[in-house]
Subunit: 141 residues, 2 copies
Amino acid sequence: MNIDEMLKQKQLKVTPQRKAILTVLERSESVLSAQELFREVLELLPGTNFSTIYRNLDTLLSRGLLCRIPRENGGDLYEIRREEGHHHHVICKGCGASIPVDFCPMETLNCQLEEYGFTPTEHHFEVYGLCSKCKKQHRIP
Amino acid sequence: MNIDEMLKQKQLKVTPQRKAILTVLERSESVLSAQELFREVLELLPGTNFSTIYRNLDTLLSRGLLCRIPRENGGDLYEIRREEGHHHHVICKGCGASIPVDFCPMETLNCQLEEYGFTPTEHHFEVYGLCSKCKKQHRIP
DNA sequence: CTGGGTGCAAAGGCTTTGCAGTGGT
DNA sequence: ACCACTGCAAAGCCTTTGCACCCAG
């Protein structure tokens, strides 16, 4: 599905700004912060405003077109929701690479919580550390 | 172990501010944001400054006396690291209650990452949703 | 044409930092 | 006495908001 169709399907207007935001996220191999996204959108569509980015991140998130990943030290990271389905991220503190992982802890936890009467709506699971490449650079065994 | 000993053991000076911060966190049944903590510390030790809180949250965190939990919409929550050991939180979006859970996804994931050459240093796992009490209030089945 | 969407500018909130002074050890 | 620690005030950063204009449907 292309970007225009994604937006229309969610009953959102197709504006150049939204197309730029989704294009950047689509092309990006890793997850992006709002500010990183903003800088990249500017290259694609100069003149785009801060607030447009923020407003649209909220909108696109609420329509389920994006995922949000809380960052280790404040702020959030965003990624486009691809068809591959639900996954989580292992993030290298050295190079910032975010490695997607299929494993989801909720598979184990869901039934336990159900017994308890708790209905989960969202969850976050991220792992931080060093990838093999960065371990070598930092000379960590 | 009492608070003074905790600080000394970490080679930190025992100041009234630090004692107040740890006391508040010790007494608190749920996790607190920096600002919530600040307000409560003020009652215990009026005149304490913002920056003292923030600086000490960093310090205490780096010495392993605290845990940090990324909040759903920006900011972090803090809790004192108790002896009970590692756990995670299920947080009710209705009443804010944070229910500790022993389950940790890293038990499953650790060996997979090791094969991959990735060394995890930190991880976050939180679940958000509605507890049974709040479901009734919100009239959600 | 009509409301959702955008740009602009300003405010807001939380957090960090520099500096001088204080207090723990 | 020394240096970690604190208070204060200011700056910093990211994010949100109000308002007028604009353009996609």
